[in-house]
């Protein structure tokens, strides 16, 4: 996959930005230090991958899953990363869910109903503010445009959303 050795480096600009975000403003980062951190990050990826893969093999699986990565962090003594990673995982799942919702509501844009909106709102209760915002936007748009009830389409789209939740 990696035909050139540069392909195994992380992009300089991104790494620099992450470093700058981590230390106080105005602190100069020498070129050598930046390069060292960038290389260290690449090696970190490999190390984490190797540890995760060990956990996957222990579980007799071929695919590395999220739990393997979290176990690897513990194994590598980077326990302090686990909590933020779990948060990130939640956010990731949430994003996926939101995308599915969008997809589910798209196929019948003109046939969306108040009934459906109620269901969607119920489903998104207790989720992040982002989700609520988007659903309220959807409902506002629908209220102004549609009056007619189309039970079939609304039911099927709600089912799809529930599937995504599992």
């Amino acid at each position: 996959m990696a035909e050139r050795p540069e392909d195994l480096n992380l992009p300089n600009a991104v790494v620099t930005r992450i470093i700058k975000d981590a230390i106080p403003e105005g602190v100069n980062v020498s070129k050598e230090a930046r390069l060292a951190i960038s290389k260290a990050a690449s090696v970190f990826v490999l190390y984490a991958t190797s540890c995760s893969n060990n956990f996957a093999m222990k579980g007799k699986r071929k695919t590395i899953n999220a739990q393997d990565v979290l176990c690897a962090m513990e194994d590598m003594e980077f326990e302090q990363f686990i909590e933020p990673l779990q948060q990130c995982q939640e956010a990731f799942k949430q994003e996926k869910l939101d995308k599915k919702k969008e997809k589910a509501t798209k196929p019948a844009p003109s046939a969306q109903v108040e009934e459906e909106n109620d269901d969607v709102l119920e489903l998104s209760e207790g989720e992040s503010g982002e989700g609520k915002q988007s659903t309220s936007l959807v409902s506002a748009g629908n209220n102004s445009t549609v009056n007619e009830v189309d039970n079939d389409s609304s039911e099927s789209s709600v089912e799809m959303i529930e599937d995504g939740g599992d």
Partner: protein, 135 residues
């Protein structure tokens, strides 16, 4: 700056945890907040992961988490090196080398970020080794 119990192993993770409640925490959260997005390109992270021959396949979530973990790692390494260094205006290579070579958890980086040594000193150490062998 460094207030750690002598028995508790690394300052690297120890300091990170004690810092948790202060400003860094909010910055941490801020970085994590725009959904599950990472700033590092996941395609590149995947290329690096796949360069390991024993790895057969990686789930989307695992890739995502590894990317995020790498981001956290870069932050932690930069922040800790800066905190440990005497120079508060700049981050130098020697600060990183010092941290990497003194922290147990960063042992895997020893060959990547070695302490620098002057050629003069290196040659001297070689001569010393020779001398002790001859004796």
């Amino acid at each position: 700056m460094r207030k750690l119990q002598p028995e508790v192993i690394p300052g690297f993770s120890g300091l990170k945890q004690s810092k948790g409640s202060t400003t860094n925490r909010s910055r941490f959260n801020k970085m994590a907040s725009p959904g599950g997005s990472t700033s590092l390109p996941l395609s590149r992270v995947k290329t690096i992961m796949k360069s390991s021959p024993e790895v057969s396949s990686i789930s989307q979530e695992a890739l995502h988490l590894t990317g995020k973990a790498t981001e956290l790692f870069i932050q932690a390494l930069a922040r800790f090196s800066y905190q440990q260094s005497g120079d508060k205006t700049a981050l130098h290579y020697r600060d990183l080398a010092e941290v990497v070579n003194s922290e147990e958890t960063l042992q895997f980086l020893h060959d990547i970020v070695p302490r620098k040594i002057k050629a003069k000193d290196y040659l001297k150490s070689l001569r010393d080794a020779d001398a002790s062998e001859e004796q």
